[in-house]
């Protein structure tokens, strides 16, 4: 904790602050504009900041990440259309408030809630990371293989819009893509089909840019947009401090939900926001008021989606497993800068985790200042036609794919991958487990072979090691998501938990 406070002071240099605030503003714009996402913001900025020192690059990426998760609240409130999925829950009550002439109040409350959520997330990062590091130091290749498998399966289970098994298939595609190239143990070329550019394997940045940018560009330009229903004025930018103070329980609950969901590999801020909104509605004394301008309906999702950021970074730094799609890009960026996330990070870079916490702190200050300042500017920014923006994003995706390896093949890969993902998403196969599969495939491949080498081909360590048994239990749980009965059981349990807590506390928030 001491190191954290020291890092807050040490990071406060003019260049760091300039980069941070610039990135926060970029992130807010990316988050606010429909069609652009936090993952895209972090992916594009990681190519721009590639040649910068690690500290400055991370400052920029964290600033963009936090800004892009907060940014959708502006479009959700002013237009009723979330800039990205993370702000979808906020639109229900936020836009209703804007129609009542309280857009400024809603934006200010969302801003304060986002700051609180980010701070809760960073304290969770600092508190939980050492515990996970201590646990992960006991991991052997057996546990790392099972962890990679669990990450892909749980992400597939929770992000598949149709059947969970489609999420698992998407994850398998990612694992398959990761096995392309010269494998590390015997140097054998797999699935290169004589193409020399594939010998080095698939780069993560073209995969992420292709997977998240190209399908979105095609979808946005394919669908006819209704005319924007922009709120005409923002009004007073003063939050409801009294209500925020009375919503302590709601804020704590939403923060816990955000951190908890963030830690689960591949599941993102949008699910955290909806879960927190749902929980706040069930716990409220007047659930019928949700969707009609209940300020708690803005506070809960905004706290959760920003708390999710800290939660998502925890497994990135401690296990090398991304907690959300933007965190996956963060993981890729760390690897590009030669920082190896995982249990050894605390030994190789002892101040890295407190430093990330300090960056999140400064980013929360950034969204407080920039978010409120930009509230009136957002009305102008949101008028930029997406039909003009999307081709620019395509241009940035091409340049970003090329910038990292100076390899034109990466551009071909990015576009080809993107078009395939577009068709997969149309058929209900989600992209997040696919990206997680590409990221974790290398670890899974090497780990299972090392594990079997250590046991001379026996699978005994998989069922005798306690940590391995826990992970197998978690894998079985994620496989059981297939069953409607299991999902119904979990939903009933969750509803009972929320309603019991609201009876115990006796008041909403």
């Amino acid at each position: 904790m001491q190191q954290f406070f020291y890092e807050i002071y040490a990071l406060a240099t003019p260049i760091n602050m300039a980069v941070l605030f610039g990135s926060v503003i970029t992130g807010i714009i990316f988050g606010a504009l429909p069609g652009l996402t936090a993952t895209l913001a972090v992916a594009l900025l990681s190519t721009v900041t590639f040649s910068l020192p690690v500290e400055l690059a991370m400052m920029s990426l964290i600033g963009a990440y936090v800004g892009a998760i907060y940014g959708p609240s502006h479009s959700s409130i002013l237009m009723g259309i979330p800039g990205s999925a993370a702000g979808a829950a906020t639109a229900l009550d936020g836009y209703a408030l804007a129609k009542q002439g309280r857009a400024g109040e809603a934006i200010a409350t969302a801003t304060v809630a986002s700051v609180i959520g980010t701070v809760l997330g960073l304290f969770a990062l600092i508190a939980i990371s050492p515990v996970l590091v201590a646990l992960a130091l006991n991991f052997t290749s057996v546990e790392f293989f099972l962890l990679a498998l669990f990450g892909v399966l749980i992400c597939g289970s929770l992000t598949a819009p149709d059947m969970p098994v489609k999420g698992w298939i998407a994850g398998l595609f990612g694992l398959l893509a990761s096995s392309i190239g010269i494998e590390t143990i015997q140097g054998y070329q797999r699935f290169t089909f004589g193409i020399p550019e594939l010998a080095g394997g698939i780069d993560i940045v073209p995969v992420i840019l292709g997977g998240f940018a190209i399908p979105q560009i095609i979808r946005v330009l394919r669908d006819v947009h209704l005319g924007e229903r922009l709120a005409s004025s923002v009004g007073s930018l003063w939050p409801r401090w009294g209500l925020i103070a009375r919503s302590k329980m709601c804020i704590a609950r939403s923060g816990a939900i955000g951190v908890g969901i963030g830690v689960i590999p591949g599941v993102g801020e949008d699910i955290a926001a909806w879960s927190a909104y749902d929980a706040a509605k069930k716990a409220d004394r007047d659930p019928e008021s949700f969707g009609k301008g209940n300020v708690t309906g803005v506070i809960a999702p905004e706290v959760a989606n920003n708390a999710c950021i800290g939660g998502a970074i925890i497994p990135v730094l401690t296990l090398g497993v991304p907690g959300s799609p933007p965190a996956a890009m963060l993981l890729g960026a760390l690897n590009l800068h030669g920082v190896r996330p995982g249990p050894m990070l605390s030994f190789e870079f002892p101040s890295f985790i407190p430093q990330m916490g300090a960056m999140l702190f400064w980013a929360s200050i950034g969204i407080l200042i920039c978010g409120l300042t930009m509230a009136r500017l957002s009305v102008l920014v949101l008028r930029i036609p997406v039909a003009m923006l999307m081709p620019i994003i395509a241009f940035l995706a091409v340049l970003g794919s090329y910038a990292l390896g100076l390899n034109i093949f990466n551009i071909y890969l990015m576009l080809g991958f993107g078009i395939v993902v577009y068709f997969l998403e149309e058929m209900g196969y989600p992209v997040a487990p696919l990206v997680i599969g590409v990221l974790l495939g290398g670890m899974a491949d090497v780990s299972i072979r090392r594990a079997l080498l250590g046991s001379l081909g026996s699978i005994e360590p998989f069922y005798t090691r306690p940590l391995a048994l826990i992970l197998i239990g978690l894998i079985i749980l994620s496989l059981m998501f297939q069953s409607d009965r299991m999902r119904g059981l979990m939903e009933r349990g969750w509803n009972r938990l929320i309603q019991r807590r609201s009876t115990d506390t006796g008041a909403a928030g």
């Binding site: 721009v48 819009p161 694992l175 096995s179 999307m390 241009f395 091409v398």
Partner: protein, 175 residues
């Protein structure tokens, strides 16, 4: 995303393709060396480069079979050929598909025929101009001359400004 009925029809086709892909992966994996002997003694199959792809291939076949089963249960296989024929015959009037195909085609032309073959700024400018003209002009509500000027400015300035940031500040050359 497709409607449920259309999705089940697509699932029948896609899951068969994925099962074939899984089979192909298993076949390719079996062609890889399995009898590695790094320390002498018995073959160490578990070090084979084919082990991980085999696991992926088997799981792909199993999971795709699950999707196929669900699709058949919901009647995805019924009327599959007539549905495909109807979709193909209706393509001429399907404006969303036209738009999706058009932007994909523009990006493919830009990437495969433009980047690396002609000056990057020119290729990018042409791509931006064509894309914005085709997708923004019909709904801009402005006179054509104004649209042309705005589009030309965006198409020229965007590659210039962003390209300059990459080349002068980040020392990244253009493709």
């Amino acid at each position: 995303m497709l409607s449920r009925k259309s999705m089940r029809r697509a699932d029948v086709v896609a899951s068969c393709l994925f099962m074939a892909l899984g089979g192909g992966v298993i076949y390719s994996a079996w062609q890889m060396p399995w009898a590695t002997q790094r320390t002498g003694g018995s073959p160490q199959w578990y070090l084979s480069p084919g082990l991980f792809p085999t696991i992926i291939g088997v799981l792909l076949v199993l999971f795709s079979a699950r999707v196929l089963l669900q699709a058949v249960r919901e009647g995805g296989h019924q009327g599959l050929m007539p549905a495909i024929r109807t979709w193909i015959s209706g393509l001429g009037a399907n404006r969303p598909v036209h738009r999706a195909f058009l932007i994909a085609l523009l990006m493919m032309i830009y990437v495969f025929l433009g980047v690396g073959r002609i000056n990057f700024h020119v290729a990018s400018g042409l791509f931006l101009f064509a894309s914005i003209a085709l997708f923004w002009w019909p709904m801009s509500g402005r006179p054509l001359a104004v649209n042309v000027i705005i589009t030309a400015l965006v198409a020229v300035l965007t590659p210039l400004v962003i390209g300059s940031i990459f080349t002068r500040l980040l020392y990244v050359p253009m493709p």
